[in-house]
Amino acid sequence: AQTVTQSQPEMSVQEAETVTLSCTYDTSESDYYLFWYKQPPSRQMILVIRQEAYKQQNATENRFSVNFQKAAKSFSLKISDSQLGDAAMYFCAYRSASKLIFGTGTRLQVFP
């Protein structure tokens, strides 16, 4: 069975600085997708970025980028130029077929 592990329950960063959130996963499959979701206090899950496992190039979306290491089964999220609005819970997720498998989340605090 696939598992997703986020070992950082909480992280903090100063506004305009860079922060990296860690995620590791376990799978025997070769074709899958990885995601980072943001969940603000409103509870709405918002897709931040996704990575297809067959692509070697790391995904980037504006200030958000990932470091995908397939052999190490690692998928970290880097947030550059952090903003107060980035404060939220961040979930790493794995998907090969239908359902998403989530990690337990990292709460990110952003200080002015």
Partner: protein, 115 residues
């Protein structure tokens, strides 16, 4: 266009009562998913529907939980004889198809509190 909607937003019920949670997916989305988020935990898959196929119920924690999807659109998650451990946020998501390449769009969730 409109996103995924869920009702009610919050529900408080007494232990032993039955509850129904509703999800309206995005129009045209054939796949619909239910997840549960307990306090301090990640999201746990419960059940998913794809078109007219038999639903994947592999995540339902007990036979007190059931779900249906009428007309390939609205879905209702029913919890019978609620227990305190059922207290959680129940999130619904929909996607164009079940294929992994299609994004799942989430609703705002229903916070269920069992007293």
């Amino acid at each position: 266009g409109a996103g995924v909607s869920q009702s009610p937003s919050n529900k408080v019920t007494e232990k032993g009562k039955d509850v129904e949670l509703r999800c309206d997916p995005i129009s045209g989305h054939t796949a619909l998913y239910w997840y549960r988020q307990s306090l301090g935990q990640g999201l746990e898959f419960l059940i998913y529907f794809q078109g007219n196929s038999a639903p994947d119920k592999s995540g339902l924690p007990s036979d007190r939980f059931s779900a249906e999807r009428t007309g390939g659109s609205v879905s209702t998650l029913t919890i019978q004889r609620t227990q305190q451990e059922d207290s959680a946020v129940y999130l619904c998501a929909s996607s164009y198809t079940r294929l992994a390449s299609y994004e799942q769009y989430f609703g705002p969730g229903t916070r269920l509190t069992v007293t």
